[in-house]
Symmetry: C2
């Protein structure tokens, strides 16, 4: 695995995406997920991301962003909009999104 | 698996704990982790938590709290303090903690 994203000096933003895969069309899910990682990393204001998924299909991805404007721009990116639609209707059984302002951060 | 923690009406707080297990003394780690879940759920101001870990030992736990005071009280809880020390010196290869104020939240 890659290293955990290092903490930065706050304030910045976190998008916490917790999701349960439906198991439907998993090959296209994997392809989309890799593509979204690639695209997010190129977005202005992207600071890093950590992601993991258990054998039960429950996953958490946390991405870090400079500000809310960067998060909004990513949410509205064309390919990402399509992925969100397919996620809602096909890949995810359910999910929760939290957008939160990082006030403190430390690491080991 | 249990259901994803439902989003609430902001503001509230998230503690994002990303960690890589060292693999050392895994039995005692599992025991402690179960105990901490139990204790956290009894803390005043605890709103819920989501947690997952991949086969590579990389895990993310996000716990949700009413306010910063509730997070501080949990951080200083006696058994939790001991667990933090053992985590630092034994169970975790590395970790990052982000404490963030939830400003928006939605779910499917």
């Amino acid at each position: 695995m890659s290293e955990i994203t290092k903490t930065l000096k706050p304030p910045y933003y976190a998008v916490i995406f917790a999701n349960q895969l439906s198991g439907e069309d998993e090959a296209s899910y994997q392809h989309m997920a890799a593509r979204m990682d690639e695209l997010a990393a190129c977005q202005p204001g992207f600071l890093g991301a950590d992601s993991t998924r258990g054998a039960d299909g429950f996953g958490i991805t946390v991405s870090y962003w400079r500000d809310l404007a960067a998060i909004t721009a990513w949410k509205q990116q064309g390919e990402h909009l399509q992925a969100q639609q397919s996620g809602k209707h096909k890949w995810y059984k359910n999910y929760a999104v939290h957008i939160a302002k990082v006030e403190r951060a430390y690491d080991l």
